[in-house]
């Protein structure tokens, strides 16, 4: 953002120096997301203790949950941190769309690791709980997926996003995001190979932690978690030349 404000290309700056020391046009700059800044007046008015008490230990205050996907009532909800996911899904959002079965949830935006239904149903929506479950709170953008969702296609959609959003500055992200997307596309096109599954995770591992900014990590985590929790679906599609396990299930049911 600082780069864009200065009229340059929107590419991450190398840190240090951090913007607080050397920001816009070289001047100290506070740069934070809107939600954080929006909390400041209320905290000043009511005190820090009040804010902290709104949520559980370690995750004070409220959060804006932006729930999308297969729920009856998607939308933006401001709720206290630490609300059980079960309540968020059933009480706030009216349950899974069409009463179908929950398959998986990405709890905090597309970069967060996906959690299968049985894990997420036991989580509360705060930093600690989600981290213990192997994901993270992220941005509060909750993506709910029901049993009809093909995880391979979801992952390809996510990978396409990261390929398109990569700025191209550093090597692992620039080259790696495209590689991931192309492998997934090939699998969906029925031309996948067994070895691709290992390769996908390996490539993701080689992007993670090797880039200038966090976009590389964000591109890697979904791949790692989808393959961890839904390895079967990917393997099935490769063996069946592009046929989704979900379609197989619906066909069998029909």
């Amino acid at each position: 953002m600082l780069e864009s404000l200065e009229g340059k290309q929107g590419k991450p700056r190398f840190k240090p120096p951090f913007p607080a020391n050397y920001g816009l046009y070289g001047k100290p700059t506070t740069i934070n997301n809107t939600q954080s800044l929006a909390s400041v007046p209320a905290i000043i008015r009511n005190g820090a203790a009040w804010f902290a008490a709104l949520g559980p230990e370690g995750s004070g205050g409220t959060a804006l949950f932006s729930v999308s996907g297969h729920v009856e009532k998607p939308g933006n909800y401001e709720l206290p941190m630490g609300i059980p996911f079960k309540d968020l899904l059933n009480d706030v959002c009216g349950g899974v769309l069409g009463g179908r079965k929950l398959k998986a949830v990405i709890p905090g935006g597309s970069s967060c690791k996906v959690l299968p239904a049985d894990i997420i149903m036991d989580c509360t929506m705060d930093y600690t709980s989600l981290q213990q479950a192997g994901s993270s709170f992220g941005t509060g953008a909750v993506v709910v997926m029901d049993e009809t969702t093909c995880m391979v296609k979801v992952l390809r959609r996510i990978s396409r996003f990261y390929m398109a959003e990569s700025c191209g500055q550093c090597t692992p992200c620039r080259e790696g995001t495209g590689w991931l997307y192309r492998m997934l596309t090939r699998i969906i096109d029925g031309k996948g190979e067994e070895a691709d599954l290992h390769k996908l995770v390996d490539v993701a591992n080689k992007i993670e932690g090797h880039t200038i900014c966090a976009l590389g990590d964000a591109a890697a985590w979904p791949v790692q978690s989808f393959l961890k929790h839904f390895h079967d679906e990917f393997a099935y599609m490769i063996r069946n030349h592009g046929r989704s396990i979900v379609d197989a299930a619906t066909d069998a049911a029909a």
């Binding site: 190398f14 959003e165 080259e175 995001t177 590689w179 080689k206 090797h210």
Partner: protein, 723 residues
Amino acid sequence: MSDDIVNIEVDGEAVEARRGQMLIEVTDAVGAYVPRFCYHDKLSVAANCRMCLVEVEKVPKPMPACATPVGEGMKVFTKSPKAIAAQKATMEFLLINHPLDCPICDQGGECELQDLAIGYGRDVSRYNDGKRVVKDKDIGPLVSTDMTRCIHCTRCVRFGEEITGKPQLGTTDRGENMKIGTYVEQSVDHELSANIIDLCPVGALNNKPYRYSARAWEMAQHATVSPHDCVGSNLYAHVLRGTVKRIVPRANESINESWIADRDRYSYEAIYSGDRLMRPRVKENGAWRDVDWEGALAQAADVLKSADQDKVALIATPAVTVEEGHLLSQIADHLGTANIDHRVGRRDVSDQDNDPMYPSLGCSIAEIEQHDAILVAGSNVRAEAPIIAHRLRKAAVAGAAISFANSSVYEYLFDVANYLSGAGLVELLAGVAVAAADGNSLPDSVTELCDGVTASGAHKDVARSLAEADRAIVLLGNIAGRHASYTAVRALAAAIAELTGASFGGLSEGPNSAGACLAGVLPHRAQGGENRVTAGLDVASMLAQAMDAVVLVNVEPDADIHAATDAVARLAEQAFVVALTPFVSDALLEAADLLLPTGTFAETSGTYVNVEGTWQSFSGVASAVGEARPTWKVLRVLGNLVDAPGFDYVTSVDVRDEFVARLGEISTSNAYEASGRIAKVNGADAPANDIDIPLYSVDALVRRATALQLTDEAQRARAVSDG
């Protein structure tokens, strides 16, 4: 222990480092090689290639060595499994979209990607999806592009932004579509532009004229020195079976750093130009015919021997080597003439007795950037000495106040403090001198020149910046040196320096003005700078009088002589003109009677003394073209034939050693002492375009280098001179 030193450990070895240094500088210093692509010691840190990832204790992620500052107690592992894994990961990413067309790539064999792929790549690619293809760009006649090979290290981009100040290459698009280009289709033109070839770690940017003409490993590398300006940039010639295939920089921090000017790189093309004189030729009754060397030299010697000693003229250029100069001045001595000069560009020699022993910069080349204020007067410095211009830019970027005084305005790619223009140089400098005097008395020599002159705000600014600086210098350029009233220009510049406490110096012409002066290729001074008892004639006077014999040493009378007008016609009227020359031209055919083919700088050994007084000797790097002979050998034989004593040198080193042994103490002083009050010369201060020589017209080689002549710069200059 000083605060500035931190103790770190590199691969288990304790190392001291300066606080704030980047890891890669420390690992390089201790010889722990870390692979890299984007890092370059002359450019800012980009940290985008991620090849230099190393393991740092207590840091979970691998860290880029080029962008990680050292900290006390840091333990770094450059070859741990984690570091190697990260480096190999990057290599794999770099290669998936790389075309791997090494067999047809000129970079093959000297490619950083290829070299590192051997150490960090796999033997078989795991990538079996489609590869990226990128359209090549036309960025002019000097640099070829194969953009599919680009690994996006942005060295070329940073070069434009940081080194030349002309950011012509940049990135467009994002992600894997990111590409390097010029935004709008245009050539990349700057006098140093082709250095991006050496910076580019892969074969994306390459040498266009050299394209596909040799392989790196089949050529021999020979050190040489640039003959195009007073800097004497250090070069390597890459030679295949006696033919120069290309020129690359030879790093020398105190002279050219790791850069060379484009004309240093491409002028070699002229060695193989169709204009080369292949064998001696003589003019008889207006018709030219080939002769053998023996006959040609005998004829030249006869002419010289039978000439009246006052009617012999020897004219060289500032490209004459020390050795050639030494031989030439001994021949002159032996023939009893002092009509010998190399100052083909100088119009005003009236004050020559007050010249320094040799023209010098007044500081070392590297010291330029340590000044806080510099006034450059009478110079198109980017054309005269691109490397000096680069040093000036570095000074400016570091905060120095750089001002110019010149009749016409040239573009400088940095913030110029003041640009005085729009009048004659004498007038401009008189204003500064008056401002510098600030009401106090001026040196007597310039009082008449400054009579009635009032200083403007800009004049005062310039004077003030020089006076207030801790370290300031006034530099005269080649335009000043060719000025019709150089005496006045120099006196004023020296007065400004004196009044402001600045030092004083200048750029000289050609690669060896200094050496030529020391060797006594001057009508008023003998070898070692001693005044001659009776001064001989300077270039213009020699041409103006009827001579029995004129010897031109590598002079192109139409293009090199600015000291006189109509040089070709005047030479044509002379009784007999012998021209030692690598090239034949219409002008020489008209002016000369005997042509002796000599080698270019690449075909001869010799020594140049540059503008800071550094002696640089070089050997011949290429086989002679046709029957060309090194100039020093031709002069040696000629000396023998005219019975000059002691001409039994075997190598050019013998010549140099003898010269050095005879040379007394060399004075580097630039102190200027005028002989009395200098008068204004009417009309001499009119701005003259013909004394500004364009970038690619400075010498016979550059004028014949095809690629250089195709540049926009050369075409613009031609349009001006034709139009």
